[in-house]
């Protein structure tokens, strides 16, 4: 999340007919605000988060707060006012601004311990998810909030982990993606083992701890592409289809090489993710 938050008022003063909240997520509890109302809400083109909750002032609702959800398949067209001079009827009154919060679960502290992740030896890297929401200031008949096909070029993989005898992991946002291709190439001079998982996060039923990230637990880690040993120069293509493999929150890639690799460059991965079902 960028500080200060992008200001919707600045968009109005600048003469824009829309406000775009385009920011990186920091925690699953991130809530963003807008002091501007809107004639339509939609997921922005760059968003990794697929489902976003929108909260707004509605005196007819409990706590004067009403909500709806938007996604790449469902925008919201209708006038929603931001009521900064009114307060939500919450225990600690807050102004009736429009609020945004990701509806998808995000856990930056996720570790694939069930898959043998070692806190000591392994390395794990995250593609930080982007939250992109657009507010339109002029009336629109309808919106098709198509997200772009996200492309990731991963050129550096710590296939021996932190300590030189571990495993490298990379986590890529997968929320709402319905198809994609993963192209793995081994440019090392030694064999490289590659595995691809789909990870679905869930809310923990553990009530014995205070509300925290402990409530977000991993419920599913499905193997999408079984361990594949690539000889030097080898290329492996995996095609992801939601209808075949299910839908996930993360794609998790595991890289392991049998010997010390030096700088870590050499294993490349090219990923394209799309909202179009194949």
């Amino acid at each position: 999340m960028s500080y200060p938050q992008p200001s919707s008022n600045a968009a109005v003063l600048g003469g824009s007919d829309f406000f775009r909240l385009n920011t990186r997520l920091v925690s699953p509890g991130d809530i963003y605000e807008s002091e501007q109302g809107s004639h339509a809400f939609a997921i922005g083109p760059d968003s990794d988060i697929a489902n976003v909750n929108v909260f707004y002032y509605d005196p007819a609702s409990p706590a004067s707060m009403n909500t709806f959800q938007i996604s790449p398949d469902r925008s919201f067209v209708g006038t929603v006012n931001s009521r900064v001079t009114e307060n939500y009827q919450t225990p600690s009154p807050i102004p009736g601004r429009v609020l945004f919060a990701p509806a998808d679960l995000y856990n930056p502290f996720y570790r694939p311990t069930a898959l043998g992740y070692s806190n000591v030896n392994d390395s794990i890297s995250f593609i930080t998810p982007i939250l992109d929401v657009v507010q339109y200031f002029t009336p629109l008949p309808s919106i098709v909030p198509q997200r772009i096909d996200k492309t990731y070029e991963i050129e550096r993989v710590e296939a021996r982990g932190n300590a030189g005898n571990g495993v490298g992991w990379i986590v890529v946002p997968a929320w709402g993606r319905k198809s994609g291709t993963f192209l793995f190439k081994n440019c090392y001079t030694v064999d490289l083992d590659v595995t691809l998982y789909g990870v679905k996060l869930g809310i923990s039923a553990n009530q014995s701890v205070a509300p925290s990230l402990a409530f977000i637990s991993t419920t599913v880690e499905n193997t999408l592409m079984a361990l594949t040993t690539q000889i030097p120069g080898d290329t492996t293509l995996y095609t992801y289809r939601m209808s075949v493999s299910g839908q996930y929150d993360y794609f998790l890639m595991r890289y392991e090489a049998a010997s010390i690799l030096g700088t870590g460059f050499g294993a490349t991965t090219h990923i394209i993710l799309s909202d179009d079902a194949l």
Binding site: V12, E35, F137
Partner: protein
């Protein structure tokens, strides 16, 4: 190649252009900084005005005070909500004490001299404002007199041109 006017016609044309405000402006550079434009007789009280106004959320504020009869058009360019009315207290914005503007739909009113408009909003909003003065009858008469003089000059030019052609 520009046509050279006979001296007498050029003189009349200059007189005509000096009387015609728009033509005088077009002769000078568009910055309006030439002596001819500066000396142009204008009635600032009758000048139209257009500007953008940004509301400040919170209490009711004075929006416009009509020093003359005017026609005012207000267009909400964003979402609002913004209320406009004659009362000094319009809040809560959607209470009905003022009329709530609709995005991109102009609200046009004729304001009597001395009328005050107030605004209240719940969000920073952009309003486009166009003010067109409504001249008094005596001022309309003056304009007619000027028009008559211009028509007379125009007839003179035509007559001279016809004489020159012979």
């Amino acid at each position: 190649m520009a046509m050279k006017l006979p001296p007498n016609i050029a003189k009349i044309a200059n007189e005509l252009s000096a009387k015609n405000k728009e033509q005088a402006r077009s002769i000078d550079n568009p910055t309006g900084s030439t002596a001819a434009t500066r000396s142009l007789p204008t009635n600032k009280r009758l000048q139209a005005d257009a500007y953008d106004y940004f509301t400040v959320p919170g209490d009711t504020q004075l929006f416009y005070s009509a020093e003359e009869w005017v026609q005012i058009s207000i267009i909400l360019r964003t979402v609002g909500p913004v209320a406009i009315g004659n009362r000094g207290t319009l809040t809560p914005v959607q209470s009905g004490k003022g009329t709530v503007l609709v995005t991109n739909e102009p609200l046009t009113m004729k304001l009597e001299k001395g009328t005050r408009l107030y605004v209240a909003s719940d969000a920073v909003s952009r309003l486009s404002v166009i003010i067109i003065p409504i001249p008094a009858t005596s001022e309309v008469g003056l304009e007619r007199e000027t028009l008559n003089q211009l028509m007379e000059l125009n007839a003179n030019i035509k007559a001279l041109a016809a004489r020159g052609a012979r």
